[in-house]
């Protein structure tokens, strides 16, 4: 029996002017699942994530988070959600600890101080609690963003290009964070160009091409389909073959 999806995307369509960025996309993400969105530039990955996060309004279809429609009940849906953008965006004049306190207040997190301290310790930011963003490296800013995202223990996590600009240690910690949150029952969607990341951490892969989902399944399922079609067995070969087929 399939678990009730935390994230349900149904016939999602997003149009900018005359460009259709996402075209009737449907997929579900169950608790504990990590779905990797892969696709070329302009395939609709970020648009999909932004529609799920409620930043962009869909032109068609629906998105529900924990059963709440992101358009009709945005506040209820967003309570269960965290969105980590590709570039950390922090308030210029808030310290690290103040970012966490603010987030705690927005999401109504009880015992915010203890939770924030625990996250700060786990992400090795203990000596930076009073630092402003200008005093932090990019990796540290990304850690602050993650700490804020995890503070309210979201059941749905969205990562947009999570490894951008991180050093090897930061990459390892980020991968561990994604996997551990999924292990704790969160539904995770991440978009990335880095196929090895998707191959390593995702339990399911969704290939997007021009806003349309052209392949959806576990790596094993996609590999089997590719072999049946006479294509290669690595994710790179599967991705290139699938997008090339669609292109023609």
């Amino acid at each position: 029996m399939t678990a009730t999806p935390t994230i349900a995307v149904t016939a999602l369509t997003k149009i900018y002017g005359t460009t259709t960025a996402v075209n009737g996309l449907s997929f579900n993400v169950a608790p504990g699942e990590i779905v990797g969105l892969i696709g070329a530039n302009g395939a609709g990955k970020t648009s999909t994530l932004r529609c799920i996060a409620g930043i962009h309004a869909p032109n068609g279809g629906s998105v529900t988070i924990g059963g709440h429609d992101i358009v009709r009940a945005p506040v209820e849906a967003k309570r269960a959600l965290a969105f980590i953008p590709d570039e950390p965006q922090l308030f210029e004049y808030l310290t690290v600890m103040e970012h966490l306190r603010l987030t705690g207040r927005i999401y109504q997190v009880a015992a915010v101080e203890s939770r924030a301290r625990a996250l700060i310790d786990a992400l090795q930011l203990s000596d930076k609690t009073d630092a402003l963003p200008a005093e932090l490296s990019r990796g540290m800013k990304q850690k602050v963003t993650i700490a804020c995202a995890l503070l309210h223990d979201p059941s749905a996590l969205l990562f947009d290009e999570p490894l951008t600009g991180l050093d090897p240690l930061g990459i390892r910690q980020m991968k561990a964070t994604i996997v551990s949150r999924a292990a704790d029952g969160a539904a995770v969607v991440l978009s990335s160009h880095l196929l090895h990341l998707v191959e390593e951490v995702c339990t399911r892969i969704l290939i997007l091409h021009r806003g349309v989902g052209i392949a959806d399944g576990t790596l094993a399922q996609l590999t089997a389909q590719a072999r049946a079609a006479g294509a290669g067995s690595t994710l790179e070969q599967i991705f290139l073959d699938a997008t090339a087929r669609e292109h023609h």
Binding site: G54, H56, Q89, E92, L94, L102
Partner: protein, 568 residues
Amino acid sequence: MGGAFVYLTACSMRNHLKVRLRRLREPRYLLGSSAGLLYFGLMFRSNGPASRLFSTWRANGMMEIAAAAMLFIMAAWAWIRFRSGGPVLTFTRAEVAFLFPAPVRRRQLIHYKLLRSQASIVVSAAVMTIFVGPGSSAGAPVVFGGLWLALTTTGLHMMGVTLNRRNAADRGVGSFLRRWLPLALVVAATVIAGVTIAVDWPRLSAAATPREFAGELQRVTATGAAAVVLWPFRTVARAALARSGAELLAVLPSALILLALNVVWVVRSDTPFEEASADLAERLGHARKAQPAAALRRVGPRAAPFTLAPTGRIETAIFWKNLILAGWRSTIVMLMFAVVIGAVVAGGSGAAAPLQTAGIVCTTLATIVIFLGPTMIRNDLRTDLAYLAVLKTWPASGAAIVRGEILTPAVLLSLLSSALLACGAAFSGGAVLDFIHWSGASRVSFAVSAIVVASAILTAHLVVHNAVAVMFPAWVRIGARAAPGVEMMGQNMLVMAGAVIVLAAAVAPAALAAIVAVVVMHQFAGSVPLVVPAALFAGVLLLECLAAAGALGRVLDATDVNAMERLE
């Protein structure tokens, strides 16, 4: 949620203040702050020219009418302008990242914007109080209070218009209705005010003095339909112009009603602005160090001024690039506009006085361009040092880069000043130069000399400003982003003062050469064509500029990219 927004605003303001105070440990910020505060203090205590002019206009009623008219035009323009995609509320990328995916209602985001807008409104009201204030600390709270009321009401109304227009677009209100209903209302209001004035024109035109005219105009527009149409604008204008407790109290009830109406209108909006605001935040974020204004306007590609040959001097390539970025077409349009206005004013009348007026206006504008143009047109190293890492990768000497960077503003400003000087000489009819009774030919000679000298001074002025940018980058605003704060204003004042001193020193040898030429020619030939010493002056000054550009190039070659990145 209000608590979270108050927390965010209060912490941001407190930390911002801490950072600014900590910066005062650096001498440049301490000096800049001292200069800026001294300037503000003098402005507040001295009852300066702006304050005196303001008091005079206010006393004869012209200020209230002018302010009300300006507010009417602002509101009318906000309602009738129609842009593709519509206007949006501005949020930062951090606000988008934290607040948009958070469980925050749309109206709460609007509350937050209202709260944040108060920070800039309070600062604006305080600065305006200093510039146009009563000259004493006792009257300052009244002036500040009136200005705060006026700015808050105006800001709220503009936000309401923004949300209303987008709401109409998003709810599918027909394009025809969206575009023409506000226009119809604006036209109706304008017609009511215009007809009222036209009916009473005989009495208005009979006024002997501006004070009488203003009084009559106030009386005419204070009754009937015009009074109803103009009531909001006059109320806001009166609040802004209140200079005593009694004046402020008199206007307070109606001003508070207006404020309350606008507050209710704005906070009750439920316009889906998030997507457009997120898009704008991205564009502003990417354009932050380069062209934030362009990001707001969604500037499209600009036409190249000429076809760039694949080979040739690097200076030409930089000149070509900067011309495109400067919007050379708009500069030419501005130039032609100035010339045409002068010609129309002069030619339209045929009388001597308007011609002379046009000439004086052109000459005055030319003087402003010569002395203030180089501080305002910054399409040179003051913008491109933000991209020093890119410039360093180019196979070009620092000197060539400096020459190329200075070329664009030098050419544009020289063209502008030359056109204005030529118009000044042509239209003056002897008025500008009447005191020396020169013939037409002499006037031409004087105009040519002035053009040559002005172009050289402009170029030297630009070299000085670029030299400051290369040698003391911390003292200059690098990139197009406006640097706020009293310390930056003070720094700019100090830099401008320093630039004038250096410019004077640079001009001295050229002036000396010109004087020697005049003396020698007078000794041997008896008469001195003005063009000769002018050309000598310009030649010497331009040679100095070339030498300075070479020296600056060597400094640029030695400049560490990290130094610029640290500044950012």
